[in-house]
């Protein structure tokens, strides 16, 4: 039955986007498919290509390039895509520092950029651009949601993040909504893999909750060491450290951790059911939140391609801004700064069969925008 529903939804989506402007559209996708951060980029690439393939639109070509998580390389690739490949649209970047290096110069050349993940605050506030659409989140959002959630659960929270811009933004975002007392606030080294010293401090701090933002390998290392230490104070964080791409590597140590995201595998809507099923069928694994965001990005583009010519920038931007597509997040619309207004959920890591995954246990925010939209003059 599920399969039939999925097929029907897909068919419908194809029907809508397959019409109208049958013109070639070239999309440049710069993402990280090598090195330590490759898991995230691979999910973005795979989900994006899946959506394009499902649309059946043969006029769309996607050029994929690997940035190796290096800003200078991303800038070179972007130049090449703009100048020699002459792409119409760009997308794909995972990391905020790479986005800051690429996006402002690309949008200044009147190329439309759609972010499937990074959402640095400068691009949401004073540095916003009519050519920049963020389909994922503003960086602070997930942290704010955890701060909001902690209000109802804990009195004294210990907070920790790496010492780099996204890390300080994270703790700022958490504190923007968290009203209780802080048991401690620690900045670790970026890329740190041994957290024994910090865990000892958490143990001694008298906290009743622990909030950490440690993306990638840092989160895997911390969560394992934290579980092994037997401290046992409840752990929470944004989805980045507890997403599908790393849960397998953390193992049972992640069970019970609360984390915030705009999406989850078990989110109950037809578009999401079809997405999770087809992603599993195509790649043999569960999608992560990065995959969901990339899938939405591709479908947003497809919805606009169905309505306007990509050569007519004004009309195409208006078509994008309408966000007239079936988001796997259920509902989705753009704020004045072209960042999402969406619900943010609290999820818990659970075991389904022998696979670790996330389950929604509550909603932290309904129709949540970001704190920077008011600074955006567009």
């Amino acid at each position: 039955m599920k399969k039939i529903v999925a097929a029907a939804v897909l068919g419908l989506a194809m029907g809508v986007s397959g019409l109208a402007f049958a013109e070639p559209v070239k999309i440049g996708l710069i993402t990280t498919t090598s090195g330590g951060g490759a898991g995230l980029g691979v999910d973005v690439r795979d989900a994006f290509q899946l959506a394009i393939k499902q649309s059946g639109n043969a006029e769309i070509t996607v050029i994929v390039e690997d940035d190796g998580q290096k800003p200078e390389l991303a800038v070179q690739i972007a130049d090449k895509m703009v100048q020699s490949d002459q792409v119409d649209l760009m997308t794909g970047i995972i990391w905020s520092n790479l986005a800051m290096a690429v996006v402002p110069s690309v949008t200044a050349q009147d190329i439309i950029y759609l972010s499937p993940n990074a959402g640095p605050s400068p691009l949401a506030g004073a540095g916003c651009s009519p050519n920049y659409f963020n389909v994922a989140y503003q960086n602070d959002n997930f942290h704010e949601a955890m701060g909001q959630y902690a209000n109802g659960e804990y009195k004294k929270v210990f907070i920790m993040a790496p010492n780099y811009p996204a890390g300080t933004d994270s703790l700022t975002g958490f504190k923007r909504y968290y009203k209780g007392e802080l048991a401690g606030e620690v900045y670790t080294q970026l890329g740190q893999t041994d957290y024994a010293a910090e865990i000892a401090q958490i143990r001694a701090s008298g906290a009743d909750g622990v909030f950490v933002f440690l993306p990638g390998g840092m989160g895997i290392a911390f969560t394992k060491q934290y579980a092994q230490s037997g401290v046992g104070i409840p752990l929470m964080g944004p989805a980045f450290s507890f997403s599908q791409d790393v849960l397998g590597a953390i193992g049972d140590a992640a069970l019970g951790v609360k984390n915030s995201a705009s999406w989850s595998n078990d989110l109950d809507n037809p578009a999401n059911k079809a997405f999770v099923e087809s992603f599993k069928a195509a790649y043999g694994r569960l999608p992560s939140v990065y995959a969901a965001q990339a899938f939405d990005t591709a479908n947003l583009i497809l919805s606009a391609v169905g309505k306007a010519s990509v050569k007519d920038k004004d009309a195409f931007r208006a078509a994008l801004k309408a966000a007239d597509f079936a988001s796997v997040r259920g509902k989705f619309k753009f704020n004045t700064n072209q960042h999402p207004i969406q619900d943010i959920y609290v999820r818990e890591v659970v075991k389904v069969g022998d696979v670790l995954t996330n389950k929604i246990i509550g909603t932290a925010f309904t129709d949540h925008g970001d704190a920077y939209a008011k600074d955006c003059k567009m």
Partner: protein, 306 residues
């Protein structure tokens, strides 16, 4: 400040130091004997961790994984030595850096090709998963104590190997005059392959043991490689004793810095700023230590002869 927390942090520093020693020992041995700067050492650490994770997942036994990590890293080391490194001994350090850097890329992408882009799962063995009580009441993970014990055993073993065995004698001879031992009939080529494999096995062992408490992923070796270089520069390049002292120094200074500096700054500014400033300075501390030691003893604490 509670004594228990202080003791726990001292042990943490010791454990980090011991782990760095396993990496630095191989690196310094290879440099001391063959005069080779080996950037691939971090990749061998990664090979050890992946071998352990793969075999542990396949057989369900961490111990078999540990043996596999030693074997895989030693084998990878020997193969790399025979195919590539062997041609680099006579060249200058820049060529060595270039070639071994290329090997890092080959190892990283090769590992990704074999195991995929997503980090692997590796947990500590059930036998070592508990915690023990420290004087003062704190609990300390048994596994970390085991890492310290293994490090001490390796240090003693290396010392015995180098000072008491025929192989050790040849290694020492090779350090001081490689032409002469060749002329005396020692098979220098085999000796070098053996030393390289030994260093690789130590890196693999470190990777497997640390992989169980950190994350087993592509690129995990490079941050450790940088620390290992700091260790051998502080200790004196080519000296095993220097590597041991340097590793413990770096481990303790780094851990205690991360622990004490934010608290010290907390006395004069608010907690949030103290965390930022203290954390930033703590992450520079080992490099400051290196600078000071190099200013006083330009060749490191225990510079090798020659």
């Amino acid at each position: 400040m509670q004594t228990a927390l202080f003791i726990e942090q001292l042990l943490n520093g010791l454990q980090l130091g011991v782990m760095l020693f396993l990496m630095a020992a191989g690196l310094t041995l290879i440099f001391g004997v063959m005069g080779l700067i080996n950037l691939t050492h971090g990749s061998l650490y990664m090979v050890g961790a992946f071998a352990c994770a793969a075999v542990a997942a396949w057989t369900g036994s961490f111990w078999l994984g540990l043996i596999a990590s030693l074997a895989a890293a030693a084998a990878a080391g020997a193969v790399v030595e025979l195919l590539v490194i062997r041609r680099l001994y006579g060249r200058d350090h820049l060529d060595q850096v270039l070639a071994t850097f290329a090997l890092i890329l080959v190892f990283s992408e090769g590992t990704r090709w074999l195991f995929g882009s997503f980090p692997l799962y590796l947990d500590i063995p059930p036998l070592l998963s508990g915690a023990v009580s420290l004087p003062g009441g704190a609990q300390y993970p048994l596994y970390r104590l085991a890492i310290i014990a293994v490090g001490v055993l390796v240090a003693v073993g290396l010392w015995l190997l180098i000072s008491r065995t025929r192989l050790g004698m040849r290694i020492r001879a090779g350090e001081s005059d490689r032409e002469m031992i060749g002329a005396l009939g020692v098979d220098v080529a085999t000796l070098y392959t053996l030393v390289f494999a030994l260093g690789a096995a130590l890196a693999g062992l470190a990777g497997a043991m640390v992989g169980a408490i950190q994350s087993v992923q592509v690129g995990m070796g490079e941050p450790v490689l940088i620390l290992a270089f700091v260790v051998i520069v502080i200790g004196g390049i080519g000296s095993i004793k220097g590597a041991l002292v340097g590793a413990l120094l770096v481990g303790l200074v780094d851990t205690m810095g991360r622990f004490l500096l934010p608290q010290a700054f907390g006395l004069v500014m608010n907690a949030s700023q103290a965390g930022l400033v203290g954390g930033a300075i703590a992450s520079m501390l080992i490099y400051l230590l290196m600078a000071v030691i190099l200013a006083v003893r330009p060749r490191g604490l225990f510079a090798a002869q020659g």
